[in-house]
């Protein structure tokens, strides 16, 4: 029997031949005793091996076996973390920077409005009259007098760079 025939017989056993070739080999084994004997030997060997793999167990405890794997994995991790670190740091700064930017924009929008009407205190008190001390004679002023309480409140409209009239703000006059 040639090597080619032997390998063809084996391919037949392993189901690797096309159907037409398989039929030919089957017919051949039925009329050739040597081919039939070899086929039987191959079949017996294959069956014996296939169902006979040893059931082996790792000769180490679960914890010990895992510990080496874990160590090796942890050795790999710092590399990945180093790559990820700059992106992570940048992301950390995103919120504070964003919040600061929003605060700045809001402050810029609010400053002119605050300067339009600025309460300024008036601090001179006499028994009968209220004296307003100011170097901005043309400023608009709003006065509120509470007779019952004997208190007067005066609100001045002043420029942003106006000097405070007095050290007390806002003030009440009794």
């Amino acid at each position: 029997m040639s090597e080619e025939q032997q390998l063809r017989l084996q391919a037949f056993l392993d189901g690797e031949l096309p159907e037409s070739d398989a039929r030919e080999v089957l017919a051949w084994t039925q009329r050739d005793a040597d081919a039939a004997a070899l086929l039987t030997e191959l079949r017996n060997t294959r069956a014996a091996i296939a169902k006979s793999e040893l059931h082996l167990s790792v000769p180490e405890t679960r914890e010990f076996y895992w510990s080496k794997i874990e160590r090796e994995i942890q050795k790999l991790e710092p590399v990945e973390k180093e790559i990820a670190a700059p992106i992570l740091n940048w992301r950390r700064l995103l919120w504070p920077l964003g919040t600061a930017a929003i605060c700045f924009v809001v402050a810029m929008m609010e400053i002119p409005r605050v300067n339009i009407v600025q309460p300024v205190a008036v601090v001179s008190q006499d028994t009968d009259e209220t004296v307003v001390e100011t170097d901005q004679a043309n400023s608009d002023a709003t006065t509120y007098r509470d007779e019952a309480d004997g208190t007067t409140l005066v609100w001045f409209s002043a420029a942003a760079d106006a000097n405070p009239i007095s050290g007390k703000m806002p003030g009440a006059i009794n």
Binding site: L7, T45, I49, S52, S57, V58, E60, I73
Partner: protein, 197 residues
Amino acid sequence: MSGKDFTNAKDDALVKAARRGNMQAFEELVARHRDKIFARAFSMMRNEDDAVDLSQEAWVKGWQRLKQFQGESSFATWMTRIVINLCLDQLRRQKRHRTESIEGMDEESGGVERQMPVVTVNPTERLERGELRKKIDGAMGKLSEEHRTVLVLHEFEEMEYKEIAKTVDCSIGTVMSRLFYARRKMAALLVDLRKEK
């Protein structure tokens, strides 16, 4: 998912958790399949220390490549392919460092086995399962690495010729030839073992 739940979780769920970086989930996968992966490494290397080292290396590779696991096969099968490839790499390295024996050359060409008479009786008949396993294992240990590898991949991993050729990086003809001589040698070894008994 807490650590307690991992013992009841399916492999798919554990793989998903491990992909997100959960080491506990991966540890559970290792615990479940470590014997199978070790056994495959041992069947190829025939050395316990090598099998332990290579199986552990396979788990580390598995962790690194988890994102590549698409679920076409089971997780255990996927891991088995990784350990097989590592064993093949190791066997190639070992082969480069040693001179081929005369026996190895004979096995590669099939010179001895081609002339062997056909074994007419079933040498494993009437053997107990445990005894049979030991005999098969002993006979496998006497094969050359090339023949054993092809036999393991075909009989234990149930790979087709084409898949074996791709895994081992050789032609289908070489796979067929190696498988044939491996089987013939196994038949002869099993007869010898029976006689020894």
